[in-house]
């Protein structure tokens, strides 16, 4: 296989696009700085775009051994990459914001609704009980209640 025949910038661009998409959940979500705004992923997408543009130019160059195939492959890979980028933007900026308004959630100064729920061992735990359970042997000062979406 002649190196000239492989449109390597195109494929590097495509792989970087996939990496930019997948590393948000597998890597960058674990660090608040790269989670709260996906800087790192957008940067990888930008580098991928540079390679893809190089790949497109190479794919459409007049000296390609099989010009039609080269153009079709470069076009399809580029469109797929743009779709992956669009999906990422959708998942982060639109999907992430589709949340209920929670207008009637208890506000600062209001009373937190009481609850009693089982823990991972099946033992019932209530808010009232937690608020009177010592922490490190001292009187407690409060409870941090964290609602999360679930692990499924």
């Amino acid at each position: 296989m002649n190196v000239r025949r492989i449109n390597w910038p195109l494929w590097v661009g495509f792989l970087l696009t996939l990496a930019a998409f997948m590393t948000y959940v597998s890597v960058f979500v674990y660090f608040p700085v790269t989670r709260d705004f996906p800087w790192a992923n957008l940067l990888i997408f930008a580098v991928a775009a540079v390679f893809l543009i190089m790949g497109l130019r190479r794919g459409f160059a007049s000296d390609r051994p099989r010009p039609t195939r080269s153009k079709v492959v470069a076009s399809i890979v580029s469109v797929l990459s743009v779709a992956v980028f669009g999906f990422f933007i959708f998942v982060f900026f639109i999907g992430g914001r589709s949340l209920p308004a929670s207008d009637r959630a208890p506000q600062v100064g209001e009373r937190a609704p009481e609850f009693s729920l089982p823990d991972t061992t099946g033992k019932q735990v209530s808010l009232t009980h937690l608020l009177s359970t010592p922490v490190n042997g001292l009187a407690p000062k409060g409870v941090l209640l964290i609602f999360y979406r679930g692990y499924w």
Binding site: V29, Y30, P32, R35, D36, F37, P38, F92, F93, G96, R97, L99, P100, S102, D103, R104, A105, P106, Q107, V108, G109, E110, R111, A112, P113, E114, F115, L117, P118, D119, T120, T121, G122, V125, L127, T128, L130, L131, S132, T133, V135, N136, L138, A139, P140, K141, G142, V143, L144, L145, I146, F147, Y148, R149, G150, Y151, W152
Partner: protein
């Protein structure tokens, strides 16, 4: 939740019990705790009943179209009063533990 676990000692020193709640079964929550090394309690609210009391139900957003809680954090003092809350507008963005600890230090 990972950042809460990493700061667990700081929360305890501030007299705070971190407690997580989701619609998952106790078994699923136990698996999550073991996988992730969480040592604070995780409570099971399968019918999202407590989430409803806090107006946090995200209708149909769970697996198989079930109801789940939207992400939210509340700091509650010993009188049962909310002293701080965070209702994120993007579920990828969560409260930082430093911010919560700062409020926690001011509780009596």
């Amino acid at each position: 939740m990972r950042s809460i676990e990493q700061n667990l000692e700081n929360f305890k020193q501030a007299g705070i019990h971190p407690v997580a709640i989701s619609v998952d079964s106790p078994e699923t929550s136990r698996d999550l705790s073991q996988d992730q090394g969480y040592t604070f309690p995780i409570l099971s609210d399968p019918g999202a009943e407590v989430a409803r009391r806090y107006d946090l139900v995200h209708v149909g957003a769970g697996a198989n179209g079930g109801n789940i809680a939207r992400p939210a954090e509340f700091l509650i003092d010993t009188t049962g009063t909310v002293r701080w809350l965070n209702l994120t507008d993007n579920y990828w963005v969560r409260a930082r533990p430093e911010e919560i600890l700062e409020v926690a230090q001011s509780l009596k």
